[in-house]
Symmetry: C2
Subunit: 219 residues, 2 copies
DNA sequence: TAGATTGTTAATCGATTAACAATC
DNA sequence: TAGATTGTTAATCGATTAACAATC
């Protein structure tokens, strides 16, 4: 019984399927064909069917896919049926933005603890969660069954914090620091490099501008 | 003089090259071979050479690449030598986090205006920039030569704001709202879908856990 | 049953890696 | 020059799209 490895390309499309199916479900749509979903999501029907069949036969010939069922199943694949307990390290603006974003909690991502090195922040509360001293980190992580650490701190601090989180058995790190973390392969890192994203936008704006002026490109 | 289209795969690696080269430059490193950079960045030397040669012959046989030169050139490719003027729409936690992150400004991304619908926020300042009423948006964008709009607002508001930005000639949108924006093809959208990112992490954690424990089918 | 639409195999396309001649 | 290392072509690998038989 071989478990075929599923490519990250497929995985990164799953949350988008999940989002569209959720919206369709909310409008009361009961079933949908890969063809119709293709039109809405602007991906090929073929890709939709291929992607889904990596996991299971979710559809039915001549019928299509049941929206609610597919929504639920993709949620399970993404692990949204289980609760995740997070610690947030860094209670600055970005950390607070994440702590206050209730939708994560709705999906089972519960922020159990918030940590910071800033003495002025320690003891204050962010959405009812007290900010703790970094000294408590290890004991807190172990006691509260934390599986994800969120790093919203500068890069040197992030490298250090990651090391400490790894040492107390964290499973995943959601890294907002502008640095590549070095962790054992059983710890998963998901990076959000905001400046990379902004640079990409900048590149594409420039490039588009150039290709437009001069030679008679499109439009 | 044909302009070969450069793939997004290549483009999304550029900011990372840029970051590593900046760090190398700061340590005083003068030159580097694709081989050595390969070791540091954990990508193949072949990929580095291929990527760079999409743009120009930056290196020299027998020598490698000049760190400072390559750093500067990649910066130019990414458009970091030009100033970008941004408006930030949504002065909540996330908007404030972005406004306060000075590094963007260092790279030429200047937040010229901040907008919100919340009457309590309007008139207040975020890092010396006053929060303005949405009514002023169009006139402000035109007057201040704005080329990028940053959307840190909920999805319905984001769709509406995007429409308004497009109507006054914006070039790019940095979208943090959890929705796919529909814009003309000359307007570039770069999405930061935080919940998608978190779901990917969740998937990978779950998957890793399963593949590790015993085995036999998936649960 | 006839029509619709999946699941899946085969074909194509694109991206990555390997190899090596060019050249500093 | 000899050694190093690029730029670039060719080979491989993987992902996407097309096609169609299976089947609801």
């Amino acid at each position: 019984m071989e478990e075929k490895e599923i490519s990250q390309a497929v995985i990164s499309r799953l949350p988008r399927y999940f989002r569209y199916l959720g919206e369709l479900k909310d409008t009361g749509k009961e079933r949908i064909s890969s063809q119709e979903l293709s039109g809405i999501m602007k991906v090929t029907a073929s890709q939709i069917r291929q992607d889904l069949n990596n996991f299971s036969k979710f559809g039915q010939q001549g019928y299509g896919y049941n929206v609610e069922f597919l929504y639920t199943e993709i949620g399970k694949i993404l692990g949204l049926h289980k609760k995740h307990h997070l610690v947030l390290i860094g209670a600055g603006n970005l950390g607070q933005a994440i702590a206050n974003y209730m939708n994560f909690e709705k999906r089972g991502f519960i922020i159990s603890g918030i940590f910071d090195i800033d003495q002025d922040l320690i003891g204050k509360k962010v959405r009812d969660i007290p900010v703790r001293s970094m000294e408590e980190l290890e004991s807190f992580v172990k006691e509260h069954n934390i599986d994800i650490g969120v790093l919203t701190i500068p890069k040197d601090a992030a490298v250090e914090a990651a090391k400490r989180l790894v040492s107390c058995g964290i499973h995943g790190i959601w890294n907002f620091a502008h640095v590549d973390l070095n962790v054992p392969e059983d710890v998963l890192v998901e990076n959000v490099h905001l400046s990379d994203s902004l640079m990409k936008l900048s590149y594409n704006i420039n490039r588009y501008g150039e290709s437009k002026s001069g030679r008679s490109g499109k439009q």
